[in-house]
């Protein structure tokens, strides 16, 4: 379902000061930038129906990897193949607008994630109920607590009916009860044969959900194998 072949991603970071016309005009010829290799020739595959976890320290390239899989960033070299539509949940609630009512936000976020508006309208009561925000449907989103907002976002995101899910740290939100229910939802996705790439710092979560784990270190694959061995590898870094 997902295949990365020698994928590298080099970010070109212009020196901040050059990012205005003003600076360009007065610094002509002295154009300088830094390069930062976020991924260095990564290859792996995720088969249909597989749940693969991605472990790695901050800055090891996990988010870049998910963004490339989602088609948001373009790889510098190498090739990426993803079969079928993807449902990226990289940043929960991106697209939420605090000034709009909760109801409108569900529609906006859902449509952004590729869920047809008609279906969203039909499922709206259930979504609001599951997120525990039915009473606030007509209130502005900004009146919800951060936790409730994340719960709402996660509830909407799980509705995206795509065969491939890309999930970044989504389960770290909400209280215990919500986490338990979210875990159950992810298990349900897995039993329906969906494919997922899950980034998390929670080794317990990955051990529970994933049949395989990929460990990243400074943009390279340090290991790719069964959860227990990979979690040990991650801890021994």
């Amino acid at each position: 379902m997902i295949a990365f072949r020698g994928v590298s991603k080099v970010f070109t970071i212009p020196h901040l000061r050059r990012r205005t016309v003003f600076r360009r005009l007065f610094a002509a010829g002295r154009f300088s930038y830094e390069t930062f290799p976020a991924l260095k020739g990564i290859s792996f595959e995720v088969g249909a129906g597989e749940f693969v976890g991605v472990l790695g320290r901050n800055g090891s390239g996990k988010s870049t990897l998910l963004r490339i899989a989602a088609g948001i960033y373009q790889p510098t070299t190498g090739s990426v193949r993803v079969d079928g539509p993807v449902a990226p949940v990289l940043e929960l609630g991106a697209g939420f607008n605090a000034g709009l009512p909760v109801r409108d936000n569900v529609l906006l976020y859902g449509v952004l994630l590729g869920i047809p508006r008609r279906r969203l309208l039909g499922e709206l009561p259930e979504i609001l109920d599951r997120a525990g925000v039915t009473r606030f449907a007509d209130a502005r989103l900004e009146s919800l607590s951060t936790g409730l907002r994340m719960r709402l976002a996660f509830t909407v995101a799980l509705r995206a009916d795509a065969p491939v899910s890309l999930i970044d740290e989504a389960l770290s939100v909400g209280d215990e009860d919500f986490q338990r229910r979210s875990l159950a939802e992810l298990e349900a996705l897995r039993s329906r044969g969906r494919t997922a790439l899950l980034v998390s710092h929670s080794t317990e979560l990955l051990r529970h959900l994933c049949g395989r784990i990929l460990v990243l270190q400074a943009g390279e694959v340090l290991g790719d194998g069964p959860p227990d061995a990979m979690i040990d590898l991650y801890h021994s870094q």
Binding site: Q74, R81, G84
Partner: protein
């Protein structure tokens, strides 16, 4: 590479465009008539100031100057709002572009479209007011053409300034200055009726649209077809150029935000 755009087709993108435009619009007017009236305060104040200055300080004697000025301000304000909506659209939705695979063109398009809704409402109010004042020309329906041209021109410009803003963070400042210059190169508040100066102003497509809108809406004047054709072609070309330049460079936008 990624099957998302192709697999779900244009229907999804149209739905998304609509949702983005409506949410921007709702946010601006809080979904209420009062919100709309409130948003008219700034153009009305501008109108009052220009009217007082040009009528009583500078001493413009053109008959029906108030009507002339109202039409000018309504359509100039649209051009200004539209390009700023485009300019700010990508930065405002940076979180979305970095975490969901959404074409950046749609995000700019949503911002631009939300100002088209305002343009439609403002035009309807303007036509109703002209009708009530007995100043609406029988040629008024023809004004739809130059209004559409102005919308195309504004959209094309929006794509260009949006792209520039991704690369240079001071584009907003520079665009504000350029707009000021363009404002005075467009007969919004002053009157130029024919003569060599008008020929110079005709080089500016915004001015061409505004001339046509006023002629059709108020003055019942039908210019030579050549004037109309050149205006339509210039605006269409501006749109195609803006869109093509933006599209060619849009893949890298999420990384640059």
């Amino acid at each position: 590479m990624n099957a998302l755009p192709e697999a779900r087709g244009t229907a999804r993108w149209l739905e998304l465009l609509r949702e983005l435009a409506l949410s921007d619009f709702r946010l601006k007017y809080e979904d209420s008539a009062l919100g709309y009236a409130w948003s008219m305060l700034s153009p009305l104040l501008m109108l009052a100031i220009y009217y007082l200055v040009f009528r009583h300080v500078i001493g413009v004697t053109t008959p029906g100057y108030l009507v002339y000025l109202v039409v000018g301000i309504v359509y100039w304000t649209f051009f200004q709002d539209c390009t700023f909506a485009g300019l700010n659209a990508l930065q405002g939705k940076a979180g979305v572009l970095k975490s969901i695979s959404v074409p950046p063109g749609l995000v700019v398009g949503g911002g631009v479209l939300s100002t088209f809704i305002t343009l439609g409402i403002n035009s309807a109010v303007l036509v109703a007011a002209l009708l009530a004042a007995g100043r609406l020309s029988p040629l008024a329906p023809l004004a739809l053409l130059p209004i559409a041209c102005l919308a195309l021109l504004a959209a094309g410009t929006s794509f260009l300034v949006a792209l520039a803003h991704v690369h240079f963070r001071d584009t907003g400042l520079i665009w504000g200055i350029l707009l000021q210059a363009l404002f005075w190169l467009t007969p919004v508040v002053y009157v130029v009726d024919g003569g060599p100066l008008a020929e110079v102003l005709y080089l500016n497509p915004v001015a061409r649209c505004l001339y046509l809108i006023r002629w059709f809406l108020v003055y019942s004047y039908l210019p030579a077809p050549r004037f109309i054709v050149i205006t339509v072609l210039a605006c269409a070309a501006a749109f195609v150029f803006g869109w093509a330049v933006f599209r060619g460079r849009s893949r890298l936008i999420p990384e640059l935000l």
